[in-house]
């Protein structure tokens, strides 16, 4: 999700730098007041830790692996302000020294992942984990969901930033100057990958680390959970199943208000039918600064729309009249499909390996 240079217009980059700046200032002030002389070493080491975490391959269900940003872990351990500073520093080092993410887009990347990500993660962790003991399973679920929600919020913001580029910036001939896909493509394209692979990687990383710290070093979790009841050291905690986490994930998918912003037809995304419909033609003319659309659909468009009828046209099954419901269902269906396919492929490969080994003679 690290946006490189060249995908966003300088105007968008400037706006996002300006949006990120006050958060950096406030975060720096708060952390300085809280930690005083300890701030510099703590932020440095934690930023370095976040940087290294971004390179870990997290094994996902189905046999694939994914990368986590670590914003869920950072927010749970450091709180929102420390987390946004540490992740921003890690992102800046990535952009400056390793070419991951652009320098002009650093403001955008920080705003999406470090700032909004940390705030969302903190909010989810506080709400879900409220009042739970430090060693409660609910805290594991809360951290996992916090990571999942944070990464998806960040991806959603990035997809909106991509999606508005072709609406606002094109050259004289009409060719988009920066990221070329409109909202209706950018949002699903970004979200499907993040609701599944990247989201689950973040969920496993954050939830798993909290579960580990509960067993080995619960004091590290106390900073962001001052309301947690005192630890009962005599009680032995048995590891419980991760089922609540998966249920929470399913609930989150249902609640995702994905694509609601993109309801209606985006500029330049007219179908062949729209060009024939008088009402739609009038709408196109008004939004195109008085330029009337061609009377007949271009040959290429007509041909394309014949060849490629997507299984889910306009991301909504025909029998659903409400575009919002259809959109959310399509998103869930899309994410479910990806999970299903990866699980199936993983199972297939697992079976093949088993077959291979059973047919080999055992010495």
């Amino acid at each position: 999700m690290h946006i490189p240079d060249g995908y966003l217009s300088p105007e968008t980059c400037a706006v996002l730098y300006a949006a990120a700046a006050p958060f950096w200032v406030v975060a720096l002030r708060r952390i300085k007041r809280l930690l005083n002389t300890r701030m510099v070493p703590l932020l440095s080491v934690f930023a370095a830790f976040s940087f290294v975490i971004m390179m870990f391959n997290i094994p996902l269900p189905g046999g694939t692996t994914g990368h986590a940003i670590g914003v869920g872990i950072a927010a749970v351990v450091l709180g929102p302000w420390g987390s946004m500073l540490a992740i921003s520093v890690a992102l800046l080092i990535q952009a400056l020294f390793f070419g991951d993410g652009g320098i002009t887009a650093f403001g955008a990347n920080s705003f999406n992942m470090a700032i909004v990500g940390s705030l969302v993660a903190t909010a989810v962790y506080r709400v879900v984990g409220r009042g739970a003991e430090i060693t409660a399973t609910r805290r594991v679920a809360a951290a996992g969901l916090a990571g999942y929600a944070a990464i998806n919020a960040a991806a959603f913001l990035a997809s909106i930033e991509f999606g508005i580029q072709p609406l606002l910036f094109h050259d004289a001939s009409g060719a988009p100057l920066y990221a070329p896909y409109p909202l209706a493509i950018a949002i699903p394209a970004m979200m499907i990958g993040h609701l599944t692979i990247a989201g689950i990687a973040e969920l496993i990383a954050a939830g798993g680390v909290v579960a580990y710290l509960q067993r080995s070093n619960p004091s590290l979790l106390k900073f962001t959970a001052p309301d947690a009841p005192e630890l009962d050291s005599t009680r032995v905690r048995t590891p419980r199943s991760m089922r609540p986490l998966w249920i929470g994930l399913a609930a989150l998918m249902i609640l995702t208000p994905l694509g609601l912003l993109a309801a209606g037809t985006a500029w330049g995304e007219w179908s062949a039918n729209d060009l024939a419909d008088p009402a739609a033609r009038e709408h196109i003319t008004t939004v195109s600064q008085g330029q009337a659309p061609p009377s007949a659909p271009p040959e290429g468009l007509a041909r394309l729309s014949e060849i490629w009828t997507a299984p889910i046209p306009d991301y909504a099954p025909a029998f659903l009249s409400s575009p919002a419901v259809g959109y959310v269902l399509s998103a869930m269906f899309g994410s479910g499909l990806v999970i299903l396919v990866t699980t199936f492929v993983g199972w297939l490969f697992g079976r093949r390996r088993e077959k291979l080994t059973t047919t080999t003679p055992i010495e």
Binding site: P41, V45, A95, D171, P180, G208, S216, G268, G300, R303
Partner: protein
């Protein structure tokens, strides 16, 4: 344990532990490669870091500002010339930067060729899809911009030692405390990278049985947890070490840079190039030169 089981376990446990290990090693190598080039005696290496930061970053901004392909490609060519004059191996640049950017952004840009409305340019035989002039232009905008900006920003770190880059950031009014945090972060990245590498190597050498998905996730999350705990101890030790040397919360950076006449000359050169590129980039008439629409 029989032979087949051990072969199987190697394959299975290998996947994520080994992939992570390779990633960690590659990151370290890349940083070492950069430090090596930064010590070479080339054009950019001889300049004051502040001039390089201001000059190269301004060129990156002009690439994103430009509204025609001619300017973007010219600045890209300028980046390549600067790389050659600074003894950056072009082969390495092509493999590490250009190819990876081309694969990533190129893959993203392919559908644009067909879905952008505009004048038809070429019809692919058999499937009958039409490439539009606007689609092709848009795909070229995206890829050339990404290539040009990636080249310029990598030149900065390849031709400057990291400590100078960080100190040079002061000219962009980055607060001193951030510069110090960035410097320490960069330093401790390698400490933590090494710790992580040792952990994964130790884990790999002890793995013989087959791990199922649940166990693999446990190991991954556990490793992150251990690393987090170690990082906390590390920060505490660093803090005590700083305190014992008199650290009271205020940070200072030694400003040892001095501008020589060639730095002023280079700054003027960058100013002229950036000015010319900004002016050229605004000329929509230049589109006819390279644009296909």
């Amino acid at each position: 344990m029989n032979k087949t089981t051990s072969a199987k376990s190697r394959r299975h446990s290998g996947t994520f532990v080994e992939r992570t290990l390779t990633g960690l090693v590659r990151k370290t190598e890349r940083a070492l490669f950069a430090e090596e080039i930064a010590r070479a005696d080339g054009l950019l290496q001889r300049l004051d870091p502040r001039v390089k930061i201001v000059g190269l970053l301004s060129l990156v901004v002009t690439v994103t500002l430009s509204r025609n392909l001619f300017t973007i490609l010219s600045v890209f060519a300028l980046g390549v010339i600067l790389a050659v004059l600074s003894k950056v191996p072009v082969r390495e640049l092509a493999l590490r930067i250009w190819l990876s950017a081309l694969f990533f952004t190129g893959a993203i840009a392919v559908p644009v060729l067909f879905i952008t409305a505009g004048e038809p340019l070429l019809r692919i035989p058999l499937i009958g899809w039409t490439i539009t002039a606007q689609g092709l232009t848009s795909a070229l905008y995206l890829t050339s911009r990404v290539e040009a900006t990636a080249t310029l920003s990598i030149l900065l770190v390849l031709c400057t030692s990291w400590s100078s880059v960080l100190k040079g950031l002061r000219v962009l009014h980055v607060p001193v405390v951030f510069v110090v945090i960035l410097g320490m972060t960069y330093r401790y990245i390698f400490v933590i990278l090494e710790t992580a590498r040792d952990m994964f190597e130790a884990r790999r050498s002890r793995l013989v049985g087959r791990l199922d998905g649940r166990e693999r996730r446990h190991i991954a999350a556990g490793s992150i947890g251990v690393l987090l705990t170690k990082s906390f101890y590390l920060h505490h030790e660093v803090f005590l070490a700083m305190q014992s040397r008199g650290f009271r919360g205020e940070v200072y950076v030694l400003d040892e840079f001095a501008m020589h006449s060639r730095d002023w000359l280079a700054l003027a050169g960058f100013a002229v190039l950036v000015g010319a590129a900004v002016w050229l980039g605004r000329q929509e008439s230049l589109q006819t030169l390279l644009n296909l629409s």
